[in-house]
């Protein structure tokens, strides 16, 4: 659908707004919209802070059972994550934060897929289905 750049703090806000608009349009409940937008905010910030900037792509998708949902893909060309399991642990942080960004974002969505290798950037795809 639409590719959004993540280069500044203001871009993170724009990603949140776009996700909110698409989630509302797809019929997600207010709580589910809020969860998805919050997860998007965490992942967009990760792409900016740890990935040195990246892109977000927001799509409306349909499940096998015909339910609508919203899928967001984040990509960056940053240094990548050496230990993905460790990065997904509550409280583990590469510096400064609470270590809840990645692990918390995973809890807030229905599907979460992270691909990363040191030196080849990181991609995260999340989906939230309407109930």
């Amino acid at each position: 659908m639409e590719e959004l750049p993540i280069r500044t703090g203001n871009d993170v806000v724009r990603v949140r707004q776009q996700v909110r608009a698409v989630a509302a349009e797809s019929g997600l409940s207010l709580v589910d919209q809020t969860k998805l937008v919050t997860a998007a905010s965490e992942l967009a910030r990760n792409a900016l802070v740890h990935g040195g900037g990246g892109m977000a792509r927001v799509d409306v998708v349909t499940s096998g059972a015909g339910k609508p949902g919203v899928r967001i893909g984040f990509t960056d060309d940053g240094p990548g994550i050496a230990d993905v399991d460790q990065a997904l642990t509550d409280g583990w942080t590469s510096g400064g934060g609470l270590g809840l960004g990645l692990s918390g974002a995973r809890r807030l969505v229905d599907e979460f897929e992270l691909n990363s290798k040191p030196g080849s950037g990181t991609s995260v795809v999340v989906v939230k289905w309407s109930r």
Partner: protein, 117 residues
């Protein structure tokens, strides 16, 4: 970057967040509040987040930090007006906002600060 205004009413600083918060705005608010607390000797801070649609881990951490900073200036911080969807999401995210007091609305927050709640 948009800036969040701080109002002083009596011994209380009142902050109502009406913008879509970007990280820089929250950090700026933290600095501005510390300056105001040092300059005015206010004893309480009320942060109204009625209009805030999401609080993620960064914003949450900054709000908690504002609470800690206020205490160093002998001031108490009360977070008021959290939306139900935000409360549910924050809890699931794993953020407890320990150290920050909360109240349902600004009126109750003020009563809490004045010891009459």
């Amino acid at each position: 970057m948009e800036r969040v205004p701080i109002l002083k009413i009596g011994k209380t600083l009142f902050v109502s967040i009406q913008i879509d918060l970007q990280d820089e705005s929250v950090m700026q608010l933290q600095e501005d509040l510390a300056e105001e607390l040092a300059g005015t000797g206010a004893h309480g801070v009320i942060i109204d987040i009625t209009a805030v649609e999401i609080v993620d881990s960064f914003i949450g951490r900054m709000l908690a930090t504002i609470g800690s900073i206020s205490r160093l200036f002998d001031a108490e911080t009360v977070l008021v007006g959290m939306r139900p969807a935000v409360a549910i999401t924050l809890t699931e995210l794993g953020l407890s906002l320990r150290g920050v007091r909360t109240a349902l609305n600004a009126e109750k927050g003020l009563a809490l600060l004045n010891g009459s709640a």
